[in-house]
């Protein structure tokens, strides 16, 4: 079939779907939805539809990114806009069928918003709600709206026109298009994509390879997973364009094995591409032949580093090697290789579909386009978001995220995962772009964004991230293997009240040596959480040195005690204490045996608020 034929079929199917005479129910069943219980919701919907003998189409879709409201169900009745519901459980699902489908009561209270033409009384437009209004949905345009297992849906929404366009262009022209778009790598370092491609194109050596980096090992990051689960073809199209441009015949997708659904979606998408002649010999009759292999990683963070990733594909232990030579000149099996992140490739598809100027409409001077972030931590509305680069941290945390959970005080936001830094309130108005974040001591990274509130101890946070990088270091180079462990040991001592004088200076010294001396990006960035917390929250380190944990997190530095004139002797805490550390007679003041207490905080939680007799104290 020609591409035009495929497009016609796709449009017909899409149109039939949008004009469907029966209601369309879309359930977000990406991994996030499933873990929130979406599969049970699907079952409940099926059952209810059967029971009521009412016809409707159920379609499993990917993730819109409104994680805080999962599971999500969108219902579109003929002639009405679609209504997106949040926090749907099996009971609510059943009620949605009986109330909205059968009785036309849209249950506005549970609705998050409407999508599409028309309005429904009492329900806002989804994209005009505070969580979505500041966002620009380009990379995520299809996520949660198409069936990710159906290539026709992707094609119907403009998919693969970027590839078709690229196949009619000279390689130099494509590279120039990417250059004008200003696309920089979304995997962390922000290297201009066009330049990487140019190097590879010009490098001597055959065959050439292209690799999609879908390892995504940072704790708290899930942008790439969500995109692969919700719209796999947008990435695969980018990989094809990449391969065509640099003259490769083979491409690899390196995806972590802990992403079973993403892998399933990729395998399925590849099979459909093969059916449609979009991969394999002579793609769309253009003479361009290209095949894609899927390689599963075994869950090592360091395998996201490009040279370690290549070693892993080659079947060796995933350990980085010094660059130069860069993969663009000597990569997979020593051949010129381009490695790009999932989101970079999805952006490539968009640039070729819509043009460089369209892509560069958004963004700042040196950071063009939109970028997805996994906004998590102590925000009211956690989720997967897409924003124009250059937006401020404040707009993200307070605008999209809705501020801090429980209206507590903001303390810091960590960008870039374990390799990034913790930025304080004073920097909330800085723009989110590659340069500003680096200047502030953090990095853009691949898009993890963890928000912390006043109850977070910054020394403990630094220790947490160091614990991660220390365990994930490949162990090959001295500064990283031993330096991260050393910093981790010092931080542990500080949080346990065993810090020594001069520890902060020592931490800074080791951190600098690790940053400057390490072989790969893991070691070079691992000290960032330590350096930024010292830079912006030094008072917390000093407090710990004096035996105080201001956020009352570090167990060795806090004590629970019962205030005598508030305690009514109700015995609630006594019964709740897991280690029997509390004693006292009925109606008598209770006391905590500090020696026995394991500082679990249960007594503080259970002591009735009207008494408020338990308090947590730190310091002398």
């Amino acid at each position: 079939m020609t591409f035009e034929g495929l497009q016609r079929r796709a449009r017909d199917e899409w149109q039939a779907l949008s004009e469907s005479a029966v209601p369309l129910i879309q359930v977000g069943t990406a991994t996030c939805g499933r873990s929130a219980g979406a599969s049970a919701v699907v079952d409940a919907l099926r059952e209810a539809l059967q029971r009521e003998a009412t016809p409707a189409l159920i379609m499993e879709v990917g993730c819109i990114g409104l994680c805080f409201a999962e599971p999500l169900v969108t219902i579109r009745k003929p002639g009405r806009p679609a209504v997106c519901y949040g926090h749907v459980n099996p009971e609510r699902a059943t009620q949605l069928v009986s109330e909205y489908l059968l009785r036309d009561n849209p249950l506005a209270d549970w609705a998050l918003g409407t999508v599409g033409e028309g309005r429904i009384e009492g329900i806002p437009e989804l994209f005009e709600t505070p969580v979505l209004r500041p966002q620009v949905r380009r990379i995520l345009r299809n996520c949660g709206f198409i069936d990710p297992t159906n290539i026709l849906h992707y094609v119907a929404r403009g998919g693969y026109t970027g590839l078709v366009r690229a196949l009619g262009m000279a390689r130099g022209q494509i590279i120039d298009e990417i250059r004008r778009a200003g696309l920089r790598g979304r995997g962390g370092a922000g290297f201009p994509t066009w330049r990487k491609w140019q190097f590879c194109l010009e490098a001597p050596g055959e065959p050439k390879y292209v690799v999609c980096n879908a390892d995504e090992g940072d704790p708290g990051a899930f942008m790439n997973r969500s995109l692969l689960e919700s719209d796999p073809h947008s990435v695969l199209e980018g990989l094809l364009i990449d391969g065509y441009t640099v003259g490769a015949r083979e491409g690899y997708i390196y995806c972590r094995a802990e992403y079973p659904l993403a892998l399933e979606r990729l395998h399925n998408a590849l099979a459909q591409m093969r059916e449609q002649g979009l991969v394999g010999e002579n793609i769309l009759g253009s003479g361009f032949s290209f095949d894609i292999h899927i390689k599963e990683g075994a869950g090592a963070f360091v395998c996201g580093e490009e040279t370690a990733l290549l070693a892993s594909i080659e079947g060796r232990r995933g350990m980085p090697r010094p660059r130069p030579p860069f993969p663009a000149t000597s990569g997979l099996w020593g051949k010129p290789t381009v490695i790009n992140n999932v989101e970079t490739l999805a952006s490539v598809s968009l640039i070729l579909q819509k043009g460089a100027e369209w892509f560069a409409e958004y963004g700042s001077e040196k950071s063009k386009g939109t970028k997805t972030f996994a906004l998590v931590g102590k925000v009211k509305r956690a989720g997967l978001i897409e924003v124009p680069l250059g937006i401020t941290l404040r707009d993200i945390v307070y605008g999209i995220g809705g501020g801090i959970l429980g209206d507590k005080r903001f303390k810091a936001v960590q960008t870039g995962g374990p390799s990034g830094g913790c930025l304080p309130e004073a920097l909330l108005d800085s723009p989110v772009d590659y340069e500003s974040l680096t200047t502030a001591g953090s990095i853009m990274g691949s898009g993890g964004m963890v928000v912390m509130d006043e109850d977070t101890c910054m020394v403990d946070v630094a220790r947490y991230f160091l614990d991660f990088t220390q365990k994930e270091s490949c162990g090959e180079c001295v500064p990283c293997r031993l330096g991260t462990k050393q910093m981790m040991d010092i931080l542990t001592d500080i949080t346990e009240g065993k810090g020594r004088e001069g520890d902060v200076e020592l931490l800074q010294e080791v951190a600098l040596a690790v940053k400057k001396g390490s072989l790969c990006g893991l070691g070079q960035t691992a000290p960032n959480p330590v350096l930024t917390t010292i830079r912006y929250f030094r008072d917390e380190y000093e407090a710990h040195e004096q035996g105080r944990c201001p956020s009352k997190v570090c167990k060795a530095l806090i004590r629970y005690r019962i205030v005598a004139d508030k305690c009514k002797g109700c015995q609630i805490c006594l019964r709740a204490c897991p280690v029997g550390a509390i004693s006292g007679e009925r109606r008598q003041v209770h006391t905590i045996d500090v020696g026995k207490c394991i500082r679990c905080g249960v007594c503080l939680e259970v002591c009735p608020a009207r008494f408020g007799a338990v308090e947590c104290v730190t310091g002398q």
């Binding site: 490949c474 020594r500 520890d503």
Partner: protein, 345 residues
């Protein structure tokens, strides 16, 4: 090969194209601390100690940087000093502290680097010293593997892969738990290790050390007596006793390498049960005899046989010349082709 000129610490140095900055410096007598570099192996750049500053490029490792014409290199700077000093200090506090009981004491590259950098005790005191103690692998009859002294330079791994071709060992685990391990982390004697000792010979520290080895008083250049390959070696001797064998790097035959027998199998040389005179069986018992007696006896007995009544079996332990002579004797004197060799069995 093209020669290039570069400046290292203000000194003009000539180097050959393809050399690394580290090699050029070492050849010119300029020391740059290094642990993972070994002249026989491909550079990997993992110890991060051989830092230099190259004008226009900043700080980088010298073992992976090829020399270029006109390059200006500095081996000292505040950045280098900090990164290197901290790395060395970290190595030391994560290393077994008892150099005096270490077989490598005095020949240890870590000691050499520590002396070069100049370790200050007060600085070490600030650091958290390791409390970990891993079991020593003493399964191999010829050498010990002590992971507590290992600096993970990877020289053993690369030796085994690049030079020996056995690939018996590799890195295992991650982070601080990383160790050099056999497949399945079993004792090395249960791995595919051939006990050649090539890794032991190259380990820069006391992590791989021969079990029984005393320091020789002097060395004697010789050829291995085990087989016809003729590997060049140095017999380390104390008095009249061979206490150590090492390969002769300058020998074109083995370029310094040896197999398990040549390196470790020297016990027979001074063994009390070793035969030093011929024995002749008299009245059912072997008794010592002189060479003349023995040879006369053999010649007299052989005279009674001809052609296919006779067969000769020779040995890989003999030299080519000896083997040639025996086949000549068999064919020309005894008149038979019945000649064979233990290497074919």
């Amino acid at each position: 090969m093209k020669t290039l000129r570069l400046t290292i610490d203000g000194v003009t140095v000539t180097a050959r194209e393809g050399m690394s900055v580290l090699e050029a410096a070492l050849e010119a007598g300029i020391y740059i601390p290094h642990l993972c570099h070994h002249p026989d192996l491909k550079p990997v750049g993992v110890c991060r100690l051989c830092l230099v500053e190259i004008a226009g490029r900043g700080m980088t490792i010298s073992c992976k940087t090829p020399v270029e014409e006109g390059m200006v290199v500095k081996t000292e700077s505040p950045d280098i000093e900090l990164a290197r000093r901290v790395a060395v200090e970290l190595l030391i506090v994560n290393h077994h502290a008892d150099c005096l009981s270490c077989a490598k004491d005095g020949a240890c590259k870590l000691q050499e680097i520590a002396r070069y950098v100049g370790i200050e005790e007060e600085r070490l005191q600030r650091l958290r010293r390791t409390t970990r103690s891993l079991p020593v692998d003493s399964s191999n009859p010829f050498f010990l593997r002590d992971p507590n002294r290992c600096v993970l330079c990877g020289i053993c791994v690369r030796t085994c892969e690049e030079i020996v071709g056995a690939s018996a060992i590799d890195y295992a685990f991650r982070g601080y738990a990383t160790v050099i391990s056999t497949l399945g982390n079993r004792p090395i004697v249960q791995s595919r290790c051939e006990s050649c000792g090539e890794c032991v010979a190259r380990c820069p520290v006391g992590a791989l050390v021969p079990r029984q080895e005393r320091n020789p008083a002097r060395e004697v250049r010789s050829v291995c007596a085990y087989c016809g390959v003729g590997c060049g070696l140095y017999l380390g001797v104390r008095g009249n006793q061979v206490v150590r064998v090492r390969g002769a790097a300058e020998s074109p035959v083995n370029r310094g390498r040896l197999c398990v027998k040549g390196r470790y199998g020297h016990g027979y040389i001074g063994h009390p049960e070793r035969l030093t005179t011929p024995l002749i069986k008299r009245d059912g018992r072997f008794v010592e005899a002189s060479w003349d007696e023995a040879l006369d006896l053999v010649a007299a007995r052989l005279a009674g046989y001809r052609g296919d009544q006779f067969a000769a079996l020779t040995s890989a332990r003999c030299t080519n010349e000896e083997n040639y002579l025996l086949q000549k004797f068999t064919r020309a004197v005894m008149g038979t082709h019945n000649i064979d060799h233990c290497a074919r069995l």
